[in-house]
Amino acid sequence: MIPFAFYLFAILITGLFLVTVMSKNVLYAMTSLAAGMVLISGLFFILGADFLGVVQLIVYVGAVMAVYAFAMMFFDVTRDVEERHDKPWLVFLLGGGIAVTLVVIFAAPIMGETVHALYPPVAGATNPQAVGLVLFTKYLLPFEVASVMLLVAMIAGIILAGKKMEISLSAMDEDMIADTKEHA
């Protein structure tokens, strides 16, 4: 059953993310990205990382995708995205080559059999309990730093997006837009 689920998820995720990368429509790209994230949380559940799967669902599918959806209200998403591509084959060669190189670099220590478990899960504890035990003992400082980082990001997001909130480009005609640009 697990191999079937893995291959199903793997094929679906790959296809959905290909749609995200290749699609010309922003709405299609975002929807397929959200669906792929949901299926990735399925992979986490297969791997026994229950808490990570739930966090993936809540943060990525719930929060990040909602932020993207709200941000898309500022842009015109009904039009297809027009992009200029000079050498498409070069893109795939470069992207694939860099990705393979990175994978080889990071897989080398694993192939060397030098990986040892630093924090094995506590016997008898469920996954969220074990995660909590490690997160609030060994990784307490990074956890606090991450919380400060999220606070900084929240303030930055409010200030950046909130500037000139009373001006709406989509509600103006071309002359008014040119006029605001001259004043800016």
Binding site: L33, G36, G95, A99, L102, L150
Partner: protein
């Protein structure tokens, strides 16, 4: 039987897709989507290594990656909205203001 290598290969494929997207895309919003794909590919690799080596460190790093991704989206989209209000476009080709 699904081994760790299956997950690592899947992660590598997804990372390659994301990287192709980053190199290929000219629309900034689409560029953000591609970076999200790359971060998720790394998350899959971390979770797989964590599960097969019975070590929770990988899951911890996956949590911090998710936190970084969330803050990246908040700041990045704020900057994106600011750019759109200033120039009226989010196409990278229109931002080539340095002539040389």
């Amino acid at each position: 039987m699904i081994t760790m290598n299956h997950y690592l290969i899947l992660s590598g494929i997804l990372f390659a897709i994301g990287l192709v997207g980053v190199v290929r895309r000219k629309n900034l919003l689409m560029l953000f989507f591609a970076t999200e794909i790359m971060l998720n590919a790394a998350n899959i690799a971390f979770a797989a290594v964590s599960s097969y080596y019975h070590d929770l460190t990988g899951q911890m790093f996956a949590f911090f990656i998710i936190a970084v991704a969330a803050s990246e989206v908040a700041v990045g989209l704020g900057l994106l909205i600011l750019l759109y209000k200033k120039y009226g476009t989010i196409n990278i080709d229109d931002f080539t203001i340095m002539k040389g």
